[in-house]
Amino acid sequence: MILELLKKVLRVSKALAVKSPAQKDVRYQTMHPTERFRGQHTIDYETCIGCDACNKICPVHAITMKELPFKKQNIVPEVNLSVCIFCGLCEDVCPTKPEKSIVLSGGRYDMLSGGWHADQEQFWVHVDIPQSYIDSRLEEEEASRVKKELAAKKKAAEAAVTDGTLKIQESQTGMPDFVGENI
């Protein structure tokens, strides 16, 4: 009786030694990894030129453009994954080279693993821009603005010097201040 039982246990426990053909835990590892797999987006805010092309082509309006406090390149896409159909058209139209700013190919496939998401916010691909980047961009913009202004002033001054005599003869009033100073 006991012998029989032992035999059965032995027979069943043999299965432990046999490797299962299903070797992959598909929650963390894909069965068929491909380069072009259209998964979760990655968005590069540094190269994005804010052209709005991805937003315009999106067939399901999954993309909204986040506004940034800059003068140029002041929008960046954010994707709602619960709306997205992963067609990849946004990546196709992205004009930045050589790397696209919005990429899904090769993206994460396991975006929903790890339990239920109670909050809709977790279905969003947000662009988290560090304050240091914003500051540096603002500084850059300020610097370029100042530079441009100076260049414009200089140009105006030069122009004024060359036609200065003519203009003064024509009219003594309405002359910009700095022209007067130079004279």
């Binding site: 068929h32 380069e35 072009r36 067609c87 058209l89 899904l104």
Partner: protein, 554 residues
């Protein structure tokens, strides 16, 4: 003159004897014409029918808001001699005067197509035997959702009332049935679906006496997404994702049909490489659909093994699609101008392993499921469709060929690279449910053969340097298209898909896209096939017709 030309000339002679704006050749097998008077329609249709054009592929309306008219398009086909006629005529747009003669008394296949146009555009077909709304739910009755001036937002605002109204009308229907039927008799109206394991989202209102079926009235539209309207809201590239949702099982070929129509209007010729890729991808999609079709047939009989086997095989083909496009099912892989991605050499190796898997498995499947004696006993004498019915009801694809009718758009009107591929009509004889299953299997073998030919050609040309698989896949299609109109037909997994595309001047999105899908005609046949049979035959016949609700409702 050759025989074909004489036959084409015959059609022209008929048409020129009426008042027409023009009669012209369109592509190789079409004659395009526009009638001056819509009242001539019935006579012209009758003359065409007597001349052999027995099939009406579809009826399509286009609403021209600015010109205050609705243009009707009729697509008459002669499946046997491959001559077709595209007939147009204008009718007034005002809802009171918006009517035209029904051709349903002449062409049985026009029945549901006219009902669809009636539901979407509010056009009344005088003389139609049964002009009820179809596809749309009760809240769209007496409305015209596909007209250009329909306010969708205003309709959506009353969504709660609309839903209540639908629920109420279901209850009323039940009550009316109770009154209509004899309470002491054994007549019942039975709902088969939409929750039946073999039905999918469709409801067959089966009027039965005990287990004998008296008549069947299919209630469709459970997955109506108004795709034809949806594409007009997208640009020409974005529209592919709506078109592919015709049915996921074979999404490639529907996109091919749409893209061909766009390319025709834009005047773009795609590269040879793209043409061959469309053949390869299309056949892979056809295979994956056919495998599900076989599985559906056996599921209806309660045997799920074949589905497991086919799914196993199908996974290899889907792996190829995934490597190529990045998605298994919703590939979005065909774009106007070619195919969307370049081809890497390792993908062809993956395709080869899928082909090997099929070759390894097919003998087993044939021995166990195709020659299955139980299946034969059950299905050999059930749901028989005669060749005449195929022509009258405009059946196509697997269903038509299983009845022995030689029709295949890939041969009749070759598109992509099918003109260079050696293939022949695969047909069966009796047109029974069993034959339709065998037909699906034999077409799978044919598809494998086509893939092998195309793959070999691509490999040779890549080796000789004529194809550049990375760069050749696309040519540029302008973003803005000129005013134009085109039709394109493709052999989809389930049969002929006809796309009728209309664009306005400097268009950035389609003005109107009519998609004629095969399941619509096949479902129309259900009443005809099942009246007089028993309840237990419904799943089997339904499964054998290879119906998908995606393209049934659109």
């Amino acid at each position: 003159m050759e025989g074909d030309e004489i036959l084409m000339q015959n059609i022209k002679n008929i048409l020129t004897s009426y008042e027409t704006e023009y009669v012209e050749d369109y592509k190789k097998v079409w004659i395009k014409t526009k009638l001056e008077k819509s009242s001539d329609l019935l006579e012209v249709a009758k003359a065409l029918q007597e001349n052999g054009l027995r099939t009406i592929s579809t009826v399509s309306a286009t609403d021209f808001l600015s010109e205050n008219k609705i243009e009707m398009n009729y697509f008459f086909e002669d499946i046997l001699t491959k001559r077709n006629c595209w007939l147009k005529c204008d009718i007034p747009r005002e809802i009171e005067n918006c009517s035209i003669d029904s051709i349903t008394p002449l062409f049985a296949g026009a029945d549901w197509h006219e009902r669809e146009v009636f539901s979407m555009f509010g056009i009344k077909f005088t003389g139609h035997p049964d002009l009820r709304p179809i596809i749309v739910s009760q809240d769209f009755y007496d409305k015209t959702p596909f007209r250009k001036d329909f306010d969708w937002d205003a309709h959506e605002e009353n969504i709660v009332e609309n839903m209540n109204m639908i629920a109420e009308s279901f209850a009323n229907e039940e009550e009316e049935n109770e009154k209509k039927l004899d309470p002491h008799g054994s007549d019942t109206i039975l709902n088969w679906g939409p929750t039946h394991p073999a039905s999918g989202p469709i409801r067959l209102k089966v009027h039965c006496d005990g287990e004998d079926v008296i008549s069947i009235d299919p209630d469709i539209g459970f997955v109506w997404r108004a795709l034809e309207h949806l594409v007009t809201k997208k640009d020409f590239i974005g529209a592919i994702v709506a078109v592919e949702r015709l049915c996921f099982m074979d999404n490639i070929n529907s996109m091919v049909g749409y893209c061909q129509a766009v390319e025709e209007i834009a005047g773009v010729e795609i590269t040879d490489f793209a043409k061959y890729m469309r053949v390869v991808l299309g056949e892979v999609a056809r295979l994956s659909s056919h495998m599900m079709g076989m599985a559906g047939f056996y599921n209806a009989m309660g045997l799920h093994t074949v589905m497991m086997w086919n799914m196993d095989m199908r996974e290899f083909f889907l792996d190829f699609l995934e490597s190529y496009s990045g998605a298994r099912i919703a590939t979005a892989a065909i774009e106007p101008g070619g195919v969307r991605y370049g081809l890497q050499p390792n993908m062809l190796m993956e395709l080869q392993s899928a082909l090997d898997k099929f070759d390894k498995t097919k003998d087993d499947i044939r021995a166990i499921f195709i020659k299955n004696p139980t299946m034969k006993l059950r299905a050999a004498k059930l749901g028989i469709i005669t060749p005449d019915e195929v022509l009258d009801y405009a059946l196509c694809g697997v269903v038509a060929r299983a009845s022995g009718v030689k029709t295949d758009i890939r041969i009749d009107e070759p598109y992509a690279a099918y003109a260079d591929i050696k293939m022949d009509y695969v047909t069966q004889k009796s047109g029974s449910s069993q034959d339709r299953l065998i037909q699906i299997f034999e077409e799978m073998e044919q598809s494998i053969d086509i893939i092998k030919q195309a793959k070999k050609h691509i490999e040779e040309k890549i080796e000789s340097g004529e194809f550049d698989p990375i760069k050749d896949h696309m040519v540029k299609v302008p973003k803005k298209l000129p005013k134009g109109e085109a039709i394109s037909r493709v052999e989809w997994a389930r049969g002929e898909v006809l796309m009728h595309l209309v664009t306005e001047d400097k268009a950035t999105s389609p003005y109107r896209l009519k998609m004629k899908a095969p399941s619509f005609n096949h479902t129309m046949m259900l009443n005809h096939l099942l009246a007089g049979e028993t309840l237990s035959d419904i799943p089997l016949v339904f499964g054998s017709l290879y119906i998908c609700q995606g393209d049934l409702d659109r």
